[in-house]
Each structure stands twice: as C-alpha cells, then as structure tokens.
Amino acid sequence: MTRRLMQGSEAIADAAILSGCRFFTGYPMLPFTELLENMARKLPAAGGVCINANSEIEAVNMALGAAATGARAGTGSCGQGLALMQEGIAELALNELPLVVFNMARGQQDYFQATRGGGWGDYRTITLAPKDVPEAVAHTQLLFDLADRYRTPTILYGDYVIAHSSVGIEVERLDFDPLPAKDWALDGSMSGTGEARQIWTWARGKPNTPGPGPNQSWQTIAEKYDEIARVEPRFEAHCTEEAEILVVSFGTTAIFVDRVVDELRAEGVRIGSFRPITLWPFPGEALAQATEGCAQVLVYELNAGQMVDDVTMFAADRSAIRSIGGVSQDNSGMRQGDLLNAEEVRTRVQQAIGQPGPAVPSGRTRS
C-alpha cells in the first residue's frame, strides 16, 4: 500500500478489512454512514458480506449471528441508533461474542452510552476514543484483536471530525499476539455428535454437556471484565510533570486542548493535559497519579458533563475538579459547535484559573 489522501471513514474501512472483518452491517446515520458506504463498496471484493440493515436492532443481531460463527464482524451507528443496539450489545457481552461497534458519534454525548451501556446484566464494553484518523486506524485493528482476545463487544468512539477529515495515510497492518482458537464457534459440524455446541446467555448447556448456569457464568464474565480493567487501560499524559493544572479531555477534543496547553506552558503556566484513550476501562490509576498535587483538574468535554463522573471517581482531590466544557452542536459539516475550538478552550481554561484573556489569539477566530 502507499500513502493516499482519504477520508477517515475510508481509512477505518480499510483497517477493518485488513483486520479480517468479513461481515459488516449497519443502518445509515451520519456520520457513521460513510463507513457503511465504504464497507459496502470494499468488503465484497475482499470476500466478505456487507448488508444495509433495516434497523439498528436488526443490524446488531445480524452481526451477532455472524460473530457466533467465528467470523470477525462489525457494525456501527451513533446516538439514537446506538441506543437501539444496546440490547444486542449486552447480549453479545453475556454470550461472550466478539464484535466491533463503530460509534461514529455526533459529538461527545454518547460517552455514557459507550462506557455504561444500556443493556441488561453485568457487562462492560471496551471503548477506545482515537484523537485523529491515524489513531482510529490503529484502534480499529486493536479493537478487533481485543474483541477476540476477551470475547466481548468493543466500541470505537469516533465522531464527525474523524469520519469526515481527509488525511494522507497509509493503512498498515498491525501485529498482535496469537489468539486462542474459536472452539466455541457454531458451524453446524458438532450437531449430531452428541456434543453439539450452544451459545446462550443462561449458559445451562445441554444434557450431555451441561453448562455452568447463569450464576457461575455471569460471575466468570464479571471477573473477565475486572481483568480487562486491570490490564487494558490506555492513556496519554502531556506536560504533566510538575503540573498544577490538569485538563482532561478525550477524542478529537484533546487535540485542541493540547494546543492550548502548549501555548500556556510556553507562557509559563504549569499546566498539563490527560487523555483517556480507553474510555472503558477508564485509566483511573494513571489519572490519580497525574492529578497528584494539582490545584485544579479541568474537564473539557463536549457534553453537559459525562466523563467528569469517571474523573471524579479517580482524581486525587475531588474538590479540584471543574467541568469547563459543554454541549456543542451546529449544522456545519463537522457538527462540532462553538466549543471544538482552541480559542474557546483557552478562554475557558483562563477563566477557570483566574487569568485574564489571551494575549495572543489562538485557534480559529470566530466571526
């Protein structure tokens, strides 16, 4: 492959196909639509199947069926569509079936949906929030690996900016450790052998091969998520050495925050930033360390305050936390609203730390 200018949605599609995704389905909904379009165009040529579903409920259940055969499968949506998928995502989790869900979100208001889920039972979804297209390409491949490794649904938390930004990129295959064989997958071949396979959230098994039943099965699954929470947190800390002020943000917002942090650092402000890369498992231990000694922990997210709950659980000093983001939507091509803007980030950070307005305008200037 060579470096090529392409939209984030196309790059993610290429990464999914490179990961061995053989089944993809979804119901069109911006900004997930372009990913579905790209998969519809590219997946059949790669020997896979892409179906334009008739609802998000149908989509997630089709993907569940494909995943149950051992095939790598993906689906996606955002907002209200992701809400419709939640029952299915829970079912995948409790059936221990792998799936990658591309939540190409309209802003950052799906944080709760992605990290808390809306389905039944004791489950979690590994959720990665890339800050840009190259990271989304890497995360896509990582999520297919993690989904198989832990037999769980995983979520890519993208957005308009990632879906619609065109960047020069070469989609390269990442290498991962070998995975266990999918000896649980259904292909019909175990039927009639006396040891037919069964995938069932209640895990009762069949007369010849009794299962552990729901109590033991769900407890084991919960322990698996405990293990993921210990092993898989990922984060990026920027200028956190001797920082007195820490700005926490996720996804594309972090790029704007980091620019402001760099400006203020150059001006002598002891400020740093922290970005959870895994929204779940939230990198709580790392955040606790990064916030140690900070007088202020500012949370900049484009919603009314969702990730701040996780920050509150882990920050060294709860009284230092302030939400300085907010709801941010508009009708532009990126739908980012007024707050995905370095100038606005800088103004809000300065207000929070009691500094006067910016000496040098930063970011784009709003008319």
Binding site: F23, I51, G65, G188, G192, R197, Q198, I199
Partner: protein, 259 residues
C-alpha cells in the same frame, strides 16, 4: 431410527416406546405442559433433519418461549437469541456458513408480536434459511397472554372476555404476509392436532428444508400447536379446540411453493 406410523389414529393408549426418542434429542425429558403441541412439532423437524442427512450440518437459532426447551435438548449447534430477532441472527449465521442448514425457531409472540420486522425483512431478502413458527396463539411461557395471532374470541389473561377487534385489533396471518414476499420460496401452514395433520406438516417441513438446501430462497413453515394451559381448556380438549379456533381462522396448506 424407529419410525412411528402416524398416518392413522392409534389403536392403543399412549405409552413409553423404546427407541422413540429421535437421535438428535439428547434427552426425552422436557418441562413442557401435558397436551403441549410443541414436542410433536419439533420432533418432525428433527426427523426431517435426520432423513435429509443434515444431522452434522445444521444450526438452530432459537427465540424465547416454551420451545426454547427444544434448543436445550437437541443435539444441534444452537444459539439462543433475543426475543424477536432470530431471523436477523440467522442471516448473519447463514451468510458466514452458507453450506449449513440454518433453522430459526420462534413462537407467535416472538415472531409475530415482537419480531415481525425481522422476519418480513429476512423473507424480503430471500435469506436461505428455514424459519419455523410454532403458533399456539398465546404467550404460553408467561402464562397465557394475548399475542398478535390470538384469534378473535380467545380468552387470555390480558383479554379476559375474549379478544375483541375493537379493543385488541385483529390477529395477523403471518404466513400470508410472508407468502407475498418475492424472496420467499416456500410458505406453508400445518398443525399437529391430528395424526393426519402431523404427517402433512412433516411433508411441509421437508419441502422447506429441501428448498433451503437448494438455495431457492426464504422458506417458512408455520405449525399450529396446542396450548391447553394457555387457552384455559382441559388438556384432552386441546386438539379439537385448535381445530375450532386457530385452524378455523387461519386455514391449513401451502401458501407459496415452487411449481
């Protein structure tokens, strides 16, 4: 495999028959009510799978209801899915394992009440699966409640004086809807209330599975089954009651079949 002659009325009372259990059942014990029609209907499916030599190449996608018992007992690679979603799940399965015989098993609440969307779209796409509807006209598993196929006049715990169209609407003839779909290769409705009906229904199931394996399109068999518990009728009265109520409303026969 022992073959039981079901073409005529039994000349002796029922009894445990050695070898009566189909090979594809891991146990003959089930937890269903006396007089339930589901076990007879499911036996036909297992017999057809064995007769067509698909015993090592079949996948069952089961919905939620009394018939979930069959998923637990059958020696078939099985997936228990969400209520209403079996045809969507089966789509993902069949597209990835196109050479396997894929079956969905749903009740009327599962398919016609909650899952009408999924089954109609699967039929429209011509998914090469065999969808089975065990229709007893009530939510048996929850204790006898109104479904989308409960016939007019049927008493349930949520239509105490009997289903009235004005209050509860009309029952849906889902076989008729599915038969209208271009993607449907085969649609038929049978019943298990008499030995003759049992034999006729088995032929329908066999035809459906043969057409699935020939890649003809979506194949569908509705089986009217007795639920004396959910209907609040004496157990022995189930078969006759089925004939007077559901069979009278919906009729029996092939609604769509290749020439």
């Amino acid at each position: 495999m022992t073959t039981i002659d079901t073409t005529s009325v039994p000349d002796q009372p029922s009894r445990q028959v050695v070898g009566f259990k189909p090979d594809l059942l891991q146990s003959g014990d089930h937890e269903l009510c006396p007089g339930c029609g589901h076990p007879v209907a499911w036996r036909l499916v297992l017999d057809v799978i064995a007769e067509l030599e698909l015993s090592n190449n079949s996948i069952l996608i089961a919905g939620h209801g009394c018939y979930t018992q069959m998923m637990k007992l059958s020696d078939l690679d099985s997936l228990q899915c969400l209520h209403g979603r079996a045809p969507a799940v089966a789509t993902g399965v069949k597209r990835m394992v196109p050479d396997a015989a894929v079956f969905t098993l749903q009740g009327d609440g599962d398919m016609v009440s909650e899952g009408l969307h999924e089954v109609l779209h699967a039929a429209a796409r011509g998914e090469r699966v065999t969808a089975l509807l065990f229709n007893n006209g009530v939510f048996g598993d929850t204790g006898g409640h109104l479904t989308a196929t409960t016939v007019i006049g049927q008493r349930t715990k949520t239509s105490l004086e009997g289903r009235e169209a004005e209050a509860h609407g009309y029952p849906i003839d889902v076989s008729k809807l599915i038969a209208q779909m271009e993607g449907t290769a085969y649609a038929a409705r049978g019943a298990v209330n008499t030995p003759g009906m049992v034999a006729r229904t088995k032929r329908m199931i066999r035809r459906a599975v043969e057409l699935q394996m020939a890649g003809a399109g979506f194949t569908f068999v509705e089986v009217l089954t007795m639920c004396p518990t959910g209907w609040f009728v004496p157990t022995p009265a189930g078969p006759e009651y089925l004939e007077e109520s559901m069979m009278e409303t919906f009729g029996i026969g092939e609604l769509k079949a290749p020439e």
